[in-house]
Symmetry: C2
Subunit: 343 residues, 2 copies
DNA sequence: TAAAAAAATGACAGCGCTGTCAATTACTAA
DNA sequence: TTAGTAATTGACAGCGCTGTCATTTTTTTA
């Protein structure tokens, strides 16, 4: 039923080693031979046995995606992107959800890497933002690619795929400014996350670029949650606290924005007429609020595939130069933002 | 670094075959020997190499989770549960997102099963509800476990884990009835999904059990989406359409309920004072609406682990009797339901 | 107590592939 | 043309484990 390398070799009239060479794209196989083998491979619909490869070879064909992120949509997108790269490159993907805050997380992952003979790892926040953790893994002789928030890699421990939240946040803020807003509130996510910091930087930059004076009372600390959005927006919009009262709010993600939206409704503030709100992430969330959220879209699928490709190329040839690719989330204008109308 | 079966054999002073017997829990190993080997295994922290096992043995130690479900939370929960069973049983999990409506879906999965030497598959709706598809796979000599909506398996093609949406829906509806509601609207999900059908049945049963006359105009067809909830609720609550106007709404899932919530706000209907709304699923969603949704909770993690265990036991011994386990989602009362107040 | 039966253990091949290194072939220059 | 070099190909061992079947040990029975 299932063709082996032996069948292919017979069919092509060469040795199995030559077939092996062809399917691994090694040099020093004559063009003619290569074609002959390729034809046999196609005819028999041969696909190499991953277990055998992993067992026989020095290299491994398994990579792992390790994550600890409460955002299910993000993870599903990542998985899909990584899987697509794996399929193209004949790699296998292991997924490993974990708790980044647990005591033995490093040991747990180290064990898993050794146990499963993992050739490479993909790390997303918050794991990718834990330097000690990353360091340990890199020292382990396993390739690592991190997905991080920012424009430049924080170190050269591993190749990174950077998501430039800063520029995106600046663009979004600029969008609010272009609509005539000057008093723009900022609802922060968890302060420990780089994404929060980067988005904050972008917000500040946009203000500066337009010579709008920064007002600290418009910045509310919080976390990446709906509740945080609710309470943050309440604080911003209650006359006694914030001064001046903002006419627009930048929320660090869509969940916070959804919370802000709700707070506004509770306070009888109509969106977007009296207050513009923007989110970040373009999660399915942002299309299920009313009004629909203006937000920033990250092509997570693409980012993940890119990261996986980077990882696999690292695994393939040792001395790959450290490459970094960068994405900038794109502004998506929907219904939660409007021109500022002086009352 | 990594201990092999040979190391263990040496350490325990037995042959590798005996070690193999112990780690596979085979019979005919003396208790004494078993303990000796076990000790060596523990000391060396030995874990069998999956690739080698897959390659050498007739059996395979890989199962796959194939899914096509837009609900990311659901999938993540499933994965986690399945993974936990795999870890316990020394199995490997392959994940395979796919498009159930695509032409070649069956062929795609069949290929994957053959290619990766998959021993078993876990199927969730909508894939688990496609009889032809399931039939093809079962005929393929791969074990299958389906997760389905209902109380009894629709056939004996494979063991099933049933989620009794009907009883749960009845309980939820009863909760509304207990609160004094009589005119209870029903916002359906996609009509092709068994879950919709089952939930509808539960709703009808509860009405019947309390001798409340069923009113067809209170049932609105729709789909599992926010927008469907919005338009459905609008239709129900506009005086001219529905007669009588419902005082409570049963929504087929939380997303629909969230939509209904929004529609209510648009129409200035206060929740829960003027209208009670219930959801289904207990997705993170349901805690991020205002007010928080009364809903039904499915222990997806547990369901998934159960399904995976069932699958693995199937794989282990051929002639396992077809087992079926059943879960009934539990009512979670939050803030979107209240006593019916006659005006 | 010895022979027969049953239980426990081990020797060995081989799963499908890759790495090593030797053998062959093609190509170059003299 | 022919030796000399480079490019191509193949033979073979072995990755870590399981299946088969032979061997040894223990238990039972006469």
């Amino acid at each position: 039923m299932k063709a082996t390398i032996n069948d292919v070799a017979k069919q092509a009239g060469v040795s199995i080693k030559t077939v092996s060479r062809v399917i691994n794209n090694e040099a020093s196989v004559r063009q003619l031979t290569r074609e002959k083998v390729q034809r046999a491979v196609d005819e028999l619909n041969y696909q190499p046995n991953l277990s055998a490869r992993n067992l026989a070879g020095a290299k491994s064909y398994s990579i792992a995606y390790i994550y600890d992120n409460p955002n299910a949509y993000y993870i599903i997108d990542m998985q899909k992107g990584i899987l697509s790269a794996c399929k193209q490159q004949g790699f296998e993907l292991l997924i490993h959800p974990c708790d980044s805050k647990s005591q033995g997380i490093t040991e747990e992952v180290v064990n898993m890497v050794k146990q499963a003979r993992i050739a490479g790892l993909i790390l997303t926040p918050p794991l990718s933002e834990m330097p000690e953790f990353v360091k340990t893994l890199v020292d382990l002789d396993v390739k690592v690619v991190r997905i991080l928030s920012g424009d430049v890699a924080p170190d050269d421990l591993s190749p990174c795929v950077m998501v430039n939240d800063r520029d995106a946040a600046q663009t979004i803020t600029q969008h609010l400014i272009d609509l005539g807003h000057k008093d723009i509130g900022f609802l922060a996510g968890d302060a420990v996350h780089m994404s929060t910091i980067e988005r904050y930087k972008g917000y500040r930059r946009a203000l500066k670029a337009s010579n709008i004076e920064f007002n600290k009372s418009l910045v509310i600390e919080g976390s990446y949650s709906f509740d945080s959005g609710v309470s943050g927006a309440k604080e911003l919009m209650s006359v006694q606290t914030a001064n001046p009262r903002p006419t627009a709010i930048f929320s660090c993600n869509d969940e916070i924005a959804a919370g802000a939206l709700f707070a506004a409704r509770l306070m009888n503030i109509s969106i977007p007429e009296q207050l513009s709100i923007v989110g970040f992430e373009n999660s399915p969330f942002s299309r299920q609020t009313w009004p629909k959220l203006t937000t920033a879209d990250q092509p997570n699928n693409q980012i993940a595939e890119d990261a996986a490709m980077l990882l696999i190329s690292q695994i393939r040839k040792q001395k790959n130069p450290i490459t970094i690719s960068q994405y900038v989330p794109k502004l998506i204008v929907r219904d939660s933002t409007a021109q500022y109308e002086k009352l």
